[in-house]
């Protein structure tokens, strides 16, 4: 940290917040709010004279609330810059009647109560996101008694208690009576490996993923304890010890050899003996199948990692995307592990997933190297598949700019939209959104797609159905089905687009007018869109189309939607079989009726669902199998719709009554 502070090419902006990022790869402009710290950081020598007179005493966040600090403080001893800071919300202020005592005490006169936040704009070519993670709060798992029993602590709190820089200077004591605990238990997987389900809808009782670091952290803690206090009796309750890294198994074996007891079984509950503050852990030792009770002086909950609370703000600033677990998503899990989907932006450390120091350093080094490659090139090459605005046709409405997941379209009122080719990823969502057909997608033009529809539906259209498949997932899924030699009905005519967001509603309308019995729109799984969020646009458009078809008297079930990944050849084959069944059931009269009706009928501009602002009772109807269920539909939840009965995504939200 000190080295970073001293490096001539590194500008460290502590206590600052990024407010806005504009521009694109090689040309970002970042607006940073340097918050007022009310202490001149260049002048302050961190002598500490200001601290004692400060009358405001608060829990010290760095010490996990186990000790106190004042309203003027240094966040932690190694903080850079090494200068004090005043928390303005806690400080009594410079009113001489109220306080101002720190200022009197400061000989160098570095305290300035009039200091203001400062806005700084900097130009950078690349950005690395290393915003870290938070830890799981075990409060909702009340059976472990974290909120009610003083001597139940989290692994983070334990770290402070055993750290030489901690509130006890490394002398381990338990919170209730400050005596040295002789018997210590650890419970693993607290907040990890817990399914999101009925009993845990929002992840309050834990997240589905393994948090990666907690096993080895406990192994390390146990060895630390055995080193400092060899007589300590230690038991670790676990499901699986995941000691997979270099040297990890060795460390685990050493811990066992030191006499640490590893007991396979997660405790059901913890009770406190109110007289002693000791804790009784109820557990089934699953290797013997016997119920056991273990008494401890202190119990440590080995809490998991969770995405930082601000992750979504960061995601929006940089047009990034998140994986289902809430961490930031890399551009490709194997081949581009530190690139983000947005060119010129890289990800390192726990912002991407929970990881230990070594992995974080590895990833950070890789990100730095990726930045180096970018910054050393005078120009960069991009794929030729980009959007091009026809300035003659553009009506300057700006809808394309709103639709672009990459903010790659620059538009101002009364101005023609402009695509920044370096930032454009080529999904085609803008082109599908433009009401005037003013955006051409190179290599996937409207003309090309209409030509394919014409050719497919020229003869015996009633025998075929049209399947729009995205390049990365669905089309690749169809490939997998093919290379796996899976059998399925050959009636599909597949049209590849880069993204399901490219599918213009007019394509679907046109296909029905040309006599297609069924049309399928398919793309990447909802949370895995290769273009950040472009597949959400596909859902919106399918909603609009369903309503339009219904209004025109065409059975909306004839338009189908599904997500299929590149690995899901089996699923692709299943979808093909199911849709072929639907196709076979479409009558010649129906096809004719649609041909006629859709000549006249217009595609609605917006879906009724657009009007929803707050969660509303609705019926979900599966257009694949007919299943129906009631929900409270939250228009802002951004949740995948899936039928529990047949697992298809052709699920329409039916709002009861008028809106």
């Amino acid at each position: 940290m000190m080295d970073v502070g001293r490096h001539p090419n590194i500008v460290l902006m502590a206590y600052s917040e990024v407010e806005e990022i504009a521009g694109y790869v090689g040309n970002f402009t970042v607006r940073v709010r340097k918050k007022a710290r009310y202490v001149d950081e260049d002048e302050c020598t961190a002598c500490g004279d200001c601290v004692e007179p400060c009358p405001v005493v608060k829990a010290d966040e760095f010490q996990m609330g186990l000790s106190t600090r004042r309203a003027i403080y240094i966040p932690f001893p190694q903080a850079v810059p090494s200068a004090y800071i005043i928390n303005a919300h806690e400080c009594l202020g410079n009113n001489p009647i109220a306080c101002g005592k720190c200022r009197e005490a400061c000989e160098k006169d570095c305290i300035d109560f009039d200091m203001q936040d400062e806005i700084v704009e900097i130009k950078v070519g690349a950005i690395v996101v290393a915003t870290g993670m938070d830890v799981y709060d075990p409060t909702p798992m009340d059976e472990y008694g974290y909120t009610s029993y003083t001597n139940v602590i989290t692994s983070m709190e334990f770290e402070r208690l055993i750290s030489a820089g901690g509130p006890t200077e490394g002398h381990l004591v338990r919170p209730s009576d400050r005596t040295q605990p002789r018997r210590i238990g650890f419970i693993q997987c607290v907040g990890s490996r817990t399914a999101l389900a009925e009993n845990n809808p929002d992840g309050a009782r834990g997240n589905p993923y393994c948090s990666n670091i907690c096993c080895m952290n406990t192994v390390k803690d146990s060895l630390l304890l055995k080193d400092h206090y060899p007589d300590t009796d230690i038991a670790v309750f676990y499901m699986d010890i995941r000691a997979f890294g270099k040297g990890f198994e060795d460390l685990y074996m050493r811990s066992r050899a030191e006499g640490v007891r590893y007991i396979r079984g997660l405790p059901g509950e913890v009770e406190e003996d109110p007289a002693t503050g000791n804790l009784v852990v109820h557990v089934e030792n699953t290797t013997t199948g016997l119920l056991e009770q273990h008494e401890f002086d202190m119990l440590v909950l080995s809490v998991g990692a969770i995405p930082r609370q601000e992750t979504d703000a960061v995601r929006q600033l940089l047009t990034l995307s998140r994986t289902g677990d809430g961490f930031l998503m890399e551009a490709h899990p194997k081949l581009r592990p530190v690139d983000s989907p947005t060119r010129g932006v890289y990800i390192a450390g726990c912002a991407e997933s929970p990881k230990d120091v070594k992995d974080s350093v590895t990833q950070a080094s890789a990100a730095a190297a990726r930045v180096e490659i970018l910054l050393n090139a005078p120009t960069i090459k991009v794929e030729a598949i980009t959007a091009v605005v026809d300035e003659e046709l553009c009506k300057k409405c700006g809808q394309c700019a709103d639709a672009c997941p990459y903010s790659a379209i620059v538009w101002e009122k009364k101005q023609v939209a402009r695509v920044i080719s370096a930032a454009c990823a080529g999904c085609g969502t803008c082109s599908a959104e433009c009401p005037y057909g003013a955006i051409t997608m190179r290599h996937f033009t409207d003309q090309q797609i209409y030509a394919m529809l014409d050719a497919f539906l020229a003869e015996d259209p009633q025998e075929k159905f049209i399947a729009f498949a995205c390049n990365w997932c669905s089309y690749a899924g169809a490939d997998t089905a093919g290379t796996s030699r899976l059998q399925y009905p050959p009636n599909a005519r597949i049209i590849r687009t880069m993204c399901s967001g490219r599918v213009r509603p007019d394509f679907v309308w046109y296909a029905f007018r040309k006599g297609a019995p069924v049309v399928l729109v398919s793309g990447c799984h909802y949370a895995d869109c290769h273009y950040i969020s472009a597949n959400r646009k596909a859902v919106e458009r399918v909603d609009v189309l369903w309503e339009g078809l219904e209004a025109a008297g065409v059975r909306p079930e004839r338009l189908q939607l599904d997500w299929c990944s590149a690995a899901e050849g089996q699923k692709w084959a299943r979808i093909m079989r199911e849709i072929e069944e639907l196709r076979a059931a479409v009558t010649a009269e129906e096809i004719d009726q649609a041909r006629q009706a859709l000549q006249e009928a217009k595609i609605p501009k917006r879906s009724r669902l657009d009007k929803l602002e707050k969660p509303t009772p609705a019926t979900m109807r599966c257009y694949r199998c007919g299943n129906e269920w009631a929900v409270v539909f939250d228009p802002h939840a951004d949740a995948e719709r899936m039928c529990a009965a047949c697992r298809s995504n052709s699920v329409r939200v039916m709002i009861d009554g008028e809106l």
């Binding site: 009340d142 009610s148 009925e198 299943n627 269920w629 009631a630």
Partner: protein, 292 residues
Amino acid sequence: MSRYALYLGCTVPVRGLNYELSARKVLDRLGIQVADLDGFACCGFPAKPLDWKAGLLMAARNLALAEAAGCDLLTLCSACTGTLTEAAHRLKEDARLRAWVNEELARQGKKYSGKVRVRHFARMLYEETGVERLKELVTRELTDLAVAPHYGCHYLKPSHLYDGFDDPENPHSLERLIEATGARVKHYEDEGQCCGGGILGFDEDTALLMTKQKLDHVVAAEVDAMVLICPFCAIMYEANQRRVEGLYNTAYKLPVLYYSQLLGLAMGMSLEEVGFKLNRVKSRKLAQLFRE
């Protein structure tokens, strides 16, 4: 639907008259009118382990009766609450299941479209009447009473069925309701422990051992009474108290009150009015406190 039909279930109208009596009086005092519908039968709880379809249909039958009368269901027994709430949820969410149930119900001239809401008496008091309103109606603060709350299982769990209205690991609704009467709440070891009623018929020794543990813990907390909200739990702790005492050669003499009785007393009703005559375990202190 706004009006409630009172659903008594099997146990209350035969073995829990004191619960029914006091609950009706309290509802009356609160100005809450409830309908008594003809034709209710068992909620389906005993049938579910044998044949889930039979259990569901029995529940749906009762829901259909309420729906036809334009009523929601107000329940006194927690097991009924659980069974009926689960059925109401499933039939609201699953159109296919609803269609199947309606095919079956049609033969009894009934149908169910998924509109009925099920509420336990205590939850209704806590969420709809509100603790503040109860306090207004308290004329005799029971400050001399220390009581141990017993929530039981099906009143709280599965929590998702109950929209998470109370925390299943660390509940507070009954505590708040008791405090409204002025009585002091005393906590005790293993408060969430199940009464064991679910297995009484199958393994009496085990069930009564579970009952014993709870009685031990409650008595250790030195309370004047245990307060509960489910007739199943009352059978275990009150009706079977003498048996447990005999089996384990011990003496509890622990009065067990339904919450509605406690609330009735706080509203100024006499012991007789809240049906205390039917409580098997009496204590001198209670008799003295509420002597007219």
